[in-house]
């Protein structure tokens, strides 16, 4: 039952990242990777501009900036790894915070890069849109608008300072007219286009991202609800099992008391009857003796019936299989026969035992299997007027096979299917037993994971019957 309570799902959830967290981690990685690719792109663009299109501008600052990007990207990479190493926990806010730093750094770097590569003349000015889309994936709409505004502010500041002559302007010679940076209409047009591009892409990208995040949240909630329901169901099931177990124990307890209280008076009566029959209380007439003997026999019948009746629920509730041990079947047979040898001798029946020397031990309940062997052999003795009863054990691939063969009166063919039913008594014999012996034997054998069957008349002898039961060598049993 502990395994039921200890639901594996909760432990799993503790180690597993939330989908939101996982997505944010990937976002950080993508930012870093993109930056690595941005560096060669910047270098190639500069080379192409200067060598292919013969655009003249000082390239040294561009390479310094590339080195700077590489350095801070390395720092951010190490920092992202540190977050990764922290493992589980609610890292959502942390990652978002560091992500914003990434973006701000990129915005500043791009602005500085623009300053050294023509400012307002450089069409790469529209690359700010890419940063904003990158930010939209993970940050809130408000944050992205703020970043877009920051970008716009920095660009305007740069362009404004260059226009006012506070900052020196670098002309892309051969690409843009030297005084383009002083042309207000151009400046305004570029800034308006940039501003609208920034805000529209912010709006579009954050809309899509928000919708995706909302869906993701739904999935998370759904998963949690399912998890919760499953845990609830498991809890309910384990309570049910505990209740059933408790009921079973109560029932067995009841049976135990019933058995004792039913038998105690009979035992006392039997005691007195045997004393009288044994002559401990004075001489008896033959008639008295005969009547007492018959009374005693009836008491024995009743005691056996009570034992058998109470045995059935005990076996069926699995109580038998609680004392499963490694046992020697040879030993079980020996003990059974010890009890029956006298009866066989009195009837003049020969008992033949064929058990191989190196019989493997099996898992089983020794007293219960002894009950089966005793039942089969005593039946065989009872229904055999003369001849031999053979007890043979053979080892098969996966099981041991026990055969009890007699040379007796056999069982009428039409009654064979009912032999193992409760209260079955063959029509060709005088009713003596409780009719429960074989049905109990069947239950015991089945509880051990084996089978039991009968053949009559036994073909080899053409008379009598052969009872066979199998017991698996590796017993899984029905441990209830």
């Amino acid at each position: 039952m502990e395994t039921l309570n200890d639901s594996p799902i909760t432990t799993e959830a503790e180690h597993e990242r939330s989908p939101q967290e996982a997505a944010l981690r990937i976002w950080l990685k993508v930012l870093i990777t993109t930056r690595w690719t941005a560096i060669p792109v910047v270098i190639i663009a500069s080379l192409v501009a200067t060598r292919v299109f013969n655009i003249a501008f000082p390239t040294a600052p561009v390479y310094y900036i590339c080195v700077f990007i590489a350095l801070y990207n390395l720092a951010l990479l190490l920092q992202a790894r540190r977050i990764e190493a922290r493992g589980a926990g609610s890292l959502v806010r942390t990652i978002r915070f560091y992500g914003s730093i990434h973006i701000v750094l990129d915005l500043v770097t791009l602005t500085v890069l623009l300053h050294f590569t023509g400012g307002i003349e450089n069409p790469f000015i529209f690359y700010f849109v890419l940063h904003i889309i990158g930010a939209s994936i993970a940050l809130s709409r408000k944050e992205v608008y703020l970043l877009a505004s920051t970008a716009l502010f920095m660009v305007s500041l740069l362009v404004g300072l260059e226009y006012a002559g506070v900052l020196p302007h670098v002309n892309l010679v051969g690409f843009a007219p030297p005084l383009l940076y002083q042309q207000v209409s151009h400046i305004l047009a570029v800034l308006v286009v940039l501003a609208t591009a920034l805000y529209i892409s912010t709006y579009m990208a954050t809309s899509v991202a928000m919708e995706l995040r909302r869906r993701q949240q739904e999935v998370i909630e759904l998963r949690e609800r399912l998890l919760h329901e499953r845990t609830g169901q498991l809890e309910k099931a384990s309570i049910e099992i505990a209740k059933l177990e408790e009921e079973k124990q109560r029932f067995l307890h009841f049976l135990g008391i019933a058995a004792h209280d039913l038998k105690a008076p009979l035992t006392a009566i039997q005691g007195f009857l045997w004393i009288m029959l044994g002559g401990y209380s004075g001489e008896l007439s033959d008639k008295q003796k005969n009547m007492l003997e018959r009374s005693s026999r009836r008491i024995t019948e009743l005691l056996n019936l009570i034992s058998d009746l109470l045995d059935i629920p005990r076996i069926e509730t699995g109580q038998t299989m609680q004392d499963i041990k490694e046992i020697s079947l040879r030993e079980v047979v020996r003990r059974s026969l010890d009890d029956l040898r006298n009866t066989a001798k009195e009837k003049g029946i020969k008992l033949k035992v064929e058990i191989p020397q190196n019989l493997p031990r099996i898992q089983g309940s020794s007293p219960r299997l002894q009950q089966v062997i005793t039942n089969l052999v005593s039946n065989a003795i009872s229904y055999t007027p003369e001849g031999t009863v053979t007890i043979r054990i053979t080892e098969k691939a996966k099981e041991l096979q026990v055969e009890v063969i007699d040379t007796g009166i056999g069982i009428p063919p039409d009654e064979l299917p009912q032999v193992f039913d409760d209260f079955f008594r063959a029509s060709n014999v005088e009713a003596r037993g409780t009719g429960l012996g074989l049905s109990i034997s069947r239950r015991i054998v089945e509880a051990h994971g084996g089978r039991i069957w009968v053949e009559s008349p036994y073909p080899e002898n053409n008379r009598g019957s052969k009872f066979t039961c199998t017991l698996p060598k590796k017993n899984k049993g029905k441990k209830k």
């Binding site: 005691g271 007195f272 109580q319």
Partner: protein, 127 residues
Amino acid sequence: MTKKILLVDDDVDFIESTKTVLESKPYQVIVAYEGDEGLRKAREEKPDLILLDIIMPVKDGFTAAEQLKKDPELSKIPTLMLTSYSARRSETSIPVSRGFSLEVDDYIDKPIRPEELLATVEKYLNK
């Protein structure tokens, strides 16, 4: 010298018939009706053999037997448990505290024929 047997059982009728059989030998039979009384009489009388029923009021037979076996003076006295057949067959669900792993000398199935009872008792007295 007459051997002393302590018979512990809560059923007066069972006690009477058993006592009759044992006294015919003759053995001296001391009677107790539950486990605690049985333990007390065992200490006082130092019997040669104890017959102990399992299900009894106050103190059941398994508990009493366990305490007997712990007592250095009493542990050597052969102790035979009286059981009803179903309890002998397998682990029992009777309301007692111990299982069958108990180190008692033997189990006697109730009811027992007079001659069998005498044979068993004699076997353990002569050990």
